[in-house]
């Protein structure tokens, strides 16, 4: 770490000349390989090893972390080298997409490296100078360049990614390659993933101690780390798909770690199936890119082709939309985010590792990795709204709203994660690439800190329910309290903590309102700025709520024995892995006061809290006068690929704005302040009856800490919608088996697709821009979505729901606002509501009911065909085959 930091700050002197490329950059395959070995060792020998194999996992992930840091150090040297050699003209890769280029696989690869996978390659004995830089034609090119030179006077030369590529298999003249590609983005992710994984491994030795599948747990933590690292170093898109799916499988096994509980196993299945929906898009998108870029699976070449304009824009648009579907499911973007909160059923370290710091950022990483494709496909450089920015903005706002109504501390954090992922997608959607990756990194640190902190509290009180079982924890757990507070402040984005720097960069990157000068490449996405700031404000408010509910007030947990206790205990399985077996012992244990967790939990918390403070300093904005110029935009300098490297679009950076930073911070403080006023001032002052029984005290305390939404009828409608998570889950499953949930998801996707088609049709007819078509498509999709929703809820449709809220609101305004005129308006509203009600009952409900009955009838009819008798199915099959054969004979 020290060498990396040392060279990090010793730049722009122009004197440091390093060797071109380096051993760690070229042998980065070791980083995923070592945790993979760890997985196998723990899986096969873990039970015989001391401590169930956990030390093996820690040691090997630790080695991977050290290697990642060394790789990062060498990458920094690489950038410095490129900076100091501006004058030497070179290209990373020539961009001739002619036939001879496309068929390179026949000429070069395959003779000496075919059959090699990255596990047993033999390049250690080669001359490093020869194979540095682009290794696509290893040994064939006389001198591969390590950097390309920019035409203008930007940051100097552009370091080329270090690529090692081997033919994995050949089929029909198409080479599928596998290998490693290292650039700034890769090393960032390598360091983040290995560091968080290392800390989570250490934390877990205490957290899941005594678990019946302790060894299994560590084996899969290792496998997950290996899968994520394999994905991150991907050289080809096929390899990316493999890594992507491996990550999904590991997530499945870890969410369902305590599968004896039906809820957990359902959550694991839900995560897996929701991801399948997006994976179809992933596959289609990748295949399109494979062919569009001249039958190459190389990430570099696909990006280069997209950047150079060698692929038609429409192709790129469709491919990036398909990939976007995959990102939506993996990275928890609205409307496919619903699996993420449910995935909190997994053990807390898993939540921290997978669902905050690494797995869910796989989608964000893919956009960043294939940014040439997305940038040109979605016309991010233009100033109109694009799908990615829109989805990101909606996600960050809606996720933050959902976080308000959760009582489960982990679910608040889960929705907060969704919201933050929305920020990252938004940043990528507006062209603020560096801001997105920067936020990815800082978020990984402070969100892991928060999750592990929540786990520490839950470890002590055996519950995740903030209202029933927490409160006043700061007295019992001072270390957890301190670190959680730091993590929360970083998440809120208060200066000078990490979240402030990255969030501010995203907000500035939108270039909205002209605040930041609206630089060309970033468009002027005012809507994104507005939604981002609102989400930031809400983030501050709900995190204040969490801190109050968890750490302040009175300790609300009551010993078990009454009905509340059992309800709470149902949630407590996570915190106590072995609680399935001995409830008696558990209750005994829970009767004690909570206590601070042990050092193996607290130390990772402090490390993460430290990173949550300092990691933001890596990228001081340009022109930030308080630090020397050599310390500004370090992250951007080393991580962001430059246009001269020919695989990354030319993006310009928004100028940072004091006004915006101060305004955003002020609004964050306002959000936190309002929340603070409510919880810390109003709630404790409410009185308790003196002669209350323990049950009444528990109930009143629970009610006391309810937010304003459950107190005012006008807000209740919104509250109900939030508690029901916008009814998305009702559409997706509503307690029915898989086919209904699949049908719901597919129906909504088809709705979106139909809307898209409609948009494009309109576009052709009315000569609008493609982006306008997209927006209208999304709008139409939402309409179809709502119709599907109404049909599925047949009977108690959405219309009557809205109407009731209208009437209540009207009633409320009658009583409380004004008399006289307003009274009449109120009556008018009620009358209007009556008319609406009649129309609703007669026409809307009629149609909805008819739709419901029709689908139910059709389903009932088709159900009889499903006898479950294999032979009957076979009969259908043979009969159909016979008929087809007959047709063939007749028409031949």
């Amino acid at each position: 770490m020290t060498s990396a930091l040392a060279s990090l700050f010793a730049v722009e002197s122009g004197t440091a000349i390093y060797q071109t490329s380096g051993w760690f950059l070229e042998n980065v395959w070791l980083v995923p390989f070592i945790p993979a070995m760890s997985f196998l060792i723990i899986l096969f020998f873990g039970k015989k090893l001391p401590n169930g194999g956990a030390p093996i996992g820690i040691a090997m992930v630790g080695v991977a972390f050290v290697l990642s840091v060394l790789t990062a150090g060498q990458w920094i040297s690489q950038v410095n080298y490129a900076d100091s050699h501006k004058s030497e003209a070179a290209h990373c890769e020539s961009l001739e997409y002619d036939a001879s280029k496309v068929s390179h696989g026949d000429d070069h690869s395959g003779d000496d490296h075919s059959g090699d996978d990255h596990g047993d390659d033999d390049h250690g004995d080669d001359d490093h100078g020869d194979e540095s830089g682009l290794g696509l034609y290893e040994g064939e090119q006389a001198l591969a360049p390590v950097f390309a030179v920019e035409a203008g006077d930007g940051d100097g030369g552009a370091p080329c990614p270090v690529i090692k590529s081997y033919t994995w298999w050949s089929s029909g003249g198409h080479d599928i390659t596998v290998g490693t590609m290292v650039d700034g983005l890769t090393v960032t992710l390598l360091v983040v993933v290995t560091l968080v994984s290392l800390l989570v491994n250490i934390y877990s030795t205490d957290y899941v101690a005594g678990d019946r599948r302790y060894t299994h747990f560590f084996a899969f933590l290792s496998l997950f780390t290996a899968a994520m690292l394999f994905y991150v170093v991907s050289e080809s898109v096929i390899q990316m798909i493999v890594g992507w799916e491996l990550v999904g499988v590991c997530s499945f096994t870890l969410i369902g770690h305590w599968w004896e509980d039906q809820d957990n196993s359902d959550a694991a299945l839900k995560a897996f199936l929701t991801n399948r929906v997006g994976d179809i898009g992933l596959l289609i998108g990748m295949i399109m890119l494979f062919f569009a870029a001249g039958q190459t699976s190389s990430v570099f070449q696909i990006n280069a082709a997209a950047t150079a304009g060698a692929i038609p824009q429409t192709t790129l648009l469709i491919a990036s939309l398909c990939l976007l579907a995959a990102v939506m499911s993996k990275s928890g973007q609205f409307i496919l985010h619903t699996w993420l909160p449910d995935a909190m059923a997994g053990p807390t370290p898993v939540s921290a590792l997978i669902h905050a710091a690494t797995m869910v950022v796989a989608g964000i990483y893919m956009i960043a990795r294939l940014y040439g494709v997305f940038f040109n496909g979605l016309s991010i450089g233009g100033s109109s709204i694009n799908a990615l920015a829109l989805i990101g903005a909606v996600t960050c706002l809606f996720g933050a709203m959902l976080a308000f109504v959760q009582d489960d501390i982990k679910k608040v954090l889960a929705y907060s994660t969704i919201s933050q992922l929305g920020y990252m997608a938004l940043a990528l959607g507006v062209g603020a690439w560096t801001a997105a990756i920067f936020h990815l990194m800082t978020h990984a640190f402070f969100k892991a800190c928060l999750f592990l902190g929540a786990g520490s509290v839950a470890h002590s009180v055996h519950s995740f329910d903030m209202k029933k079982d927490m409160g006043g924890m700061r007295k019992f757990m001072p270390h957890t309290y301190r670190t959680f507070l730091i993590g929360s402040l970083a998440l809120m984005g208060l200066p000078p903590l990490a979240g402030f720097w990255s969030k501010d960069e995203i907000l500035a990157g939108t270039g909205g309102w002209g605040v930041a000068g609206g630089t060309g490449g970033n468009g002027a996405y005012t809507f994104a700025l507005v939604m981002g700031i609102m989400a930031a404000m809400m983030t501050a408010a709900y995190m204040t709520r969490v801190i109050y509910l968890t750490f302040f007030g009175e300790f609300r947990h009551v010993p078990h024995g009454d009905d509340h206790g059992h309800a709470a205990q149902a949630d407590a399985h996570d915190a106590h892995g072995d609680s399935h077996e001995d409830h008696a012992a558990h209750e005994d244990h829970a009767a004690h006061d909570p206590h601070e967790s042990g050092p193996r939990i607290v130390i990772p918390l402090y490390i993460l809290a430290f990173l949550a403070i300092v990691s933001g300093f890596l990228n001081f904005p340009k022109g930030f006068q308080l630090v020397p110029k050599g310390l500004q935009t370090r992250f951007e300098h080393f991580v962001e690929p430059r246009a001269a490297a020919e695989y990354f679009p030319s993006i310009s950076h928004a100028a940072p704005s004091w006004t915006l930073a101060i305004a955003a911070t002020g609004l964050v403080l306002l959000g936190a302040g309002l929340s603070w006023f409510y919880y810390f001032r109003l709630v404790p002052n409410q009185e308790l009856a003196h002669d209350a029984t323990p049950e009444m005290i528990v109930r009143s305390r629970t009610e006391l800490v309810n937010g304003p939404t459950s107190k005012f009828s006008a807000l209740k409608g919104g509250h109900t919608a939030l508690v029901n998570k916008y009814y998305l889950d009702h559409i997706y499953d509503k307690g029915e088996p898989v086919e209904t949930s699949g049908a719901g998801i597919m129906a909504s996707l088809y709705g979106l697709a139909a809307g898209l088609g409609l948009g494009i049709t309109l576009d052709n007819g009315l000569d609008l821009s493609l982006n306008t078509a997209l927006i209208s498509g999304v709008g139409a999709g939402v309409t179809v979505f709502a119709i599907v929703f109404a049909a599925l809820k047949s009977g108690t449709g959405i219309a009557s729901f809205t109407k009731r809220q209208l009437a209540e609101a009207a009633d409320w305004s009658n009583k409380h606002l004004l008399d006289g005129v307003v009274d009449n308006v109120g009556k008018g509203a009620v009358r209007a509501a009556d008319v609406v009600y009649k129309i609703d009952q007669g026409v809307v409900d009629g149609a909805v009911n008819a739709a419901g009955r029709a689908s139910s009838g059709a389903g009932g009819g088709l159900r009889r065909l499903q006898t479950g008798k294999v032979q009957q199915y076979a009969t259908y099959m043979f009969a159909a085959a016979a008929v087809l054969a007959g047709i063939l004979i007749v028409f031949n």
């Binding site: 159900r863 009889r864 294999v870 032979q871």
Partner: protein, 99 residues
């Protein structure tokens, strides 16, 4: 040549196999009937190959035999498990997928 005779034999075997698959209730007999269908295909392949004077038909037949061996191995394992669980291999009783 005598191709027609082989084809007729093959068609007869195929029909017997299809009948067995559709009508027998015993899972083992159904598996055997599937073998009959596959062997009907093999006869077709070998006969056509010989008729056209290539060895491709025989090669494919060998492939089919290998695949059939694997298939029956898995099939019998499944049947065995069904029997252990339900004490019966009557296909009409295995209708868990009923809608």
């Amino acid at each position: 040549m005598y191709l027609t005779q082989f084809l007729v034999l093959s068609a007869a075997l195929f029909c017997i196999g299809v009948y067995g698959v559709l009508a027998r209730r015993n899972a083992v007999l159904v598996l055997m009937s599937i073998e009959l269908i596959l062997n009907a295909v093999n006869i077709n392949l070998v006969a056509m190959g010989a008729f056209n004077g290539t060895v491709a038909g025989e090669v494919f037949a060998l492939f089919v035999i290998a695949v059939a061996a694997a298939e029956v191995g898995i099939g019998l394992a499944i049947v065995l498990l069904i029997y252990r669980n339900r004490r019966s291999i009557d296909l009409h009783e295995v209708d868990l997928l009923k809608g």
